[in-house]
Amino acid sequence: MISTIRLQGEAFDATAETEGMTRGRTDIGAVVTFTGLCRADENGKPIASLTLEHYSGMAEAEIARHVEEASARWPLLGVTVIHRYGRIIPGEGIVLVVTASSHREAAFAAASFLMDYLKTRAPFWKQVQTVAGTAWVDAKTADDLAAKRWSALPSRREAAK
């Protein structure tokens, strides 16, 4: 399984990342691409931009652990996770997850699993800039619940023990 994990300040190209994963391959039957975008509002209030702070070193390690967990749970042929940091304006991408497998079920499930864990376990913090000033974004209970649903399922690795 080929995995790519990148943290970067600059924008990413989802199409190029997907093409890079599947080029020359004939074993991949399904690719799921998820792009998280910066909206122009937070809790109904307009924002000018987002700034993402991250814990360099741990962020890479934590994402790598979840990619490893995903590949233990599903028969994946490729995973790419790109997460931006720094200033991001509405309309720009924040995070990209690309998962490839022989069949769609694994690709869909792994992309969803990775996003749920990125939201709640990857050490990134969003701050919004508005006309009123700056504010840290609060963590959402719905994101915690979304991540918890995966813990009820044993991984293939654990099931094999």
Binding site: Y55, M58, H83, V95, T120, P123, F124
Partner: protein, 83 residues
């Protein structure tokens, strides 16, 4: 040991990182937070609601009952909001 702070914990403490040498009685991550909180008003404000603050030891999430012995780097931060 090296401590790191992120997001509003960093802002409240007033620094991103520092070296500390807690007394021998400080054994767990939770006790470390309590020890930091009594240093001055800034730390007290940062750690006033210790239950919401998350911690990592050497780049791994830990609970407040985790031991700090042998830790190279301990980080404190609010719940994460990436993705």
């Amino acid at each position: 040991m090296k401590l790191l702070y992120f997001a509003w914990v960093r802002e409240r403490v007033g620094k991103a990182e520092e070296q500390v040498d807690p007394p021998a009685g400080v054994v767990t991550v939770g006790e470390l937070m309590a020890w930091l909180a009594q240093r001055n008003e800034q730390y007290a404000y940062a750690f006033e609601n210790a239950k919401v603050i998350r911690a990592a030891v050497d780049h791994r999430h830990v609970r407040s009952d985790a031991a700090i012995a042998g830790a190279g780097e301990i980080a404190f931060f609010p719940p994460m909001t990436g993705g």
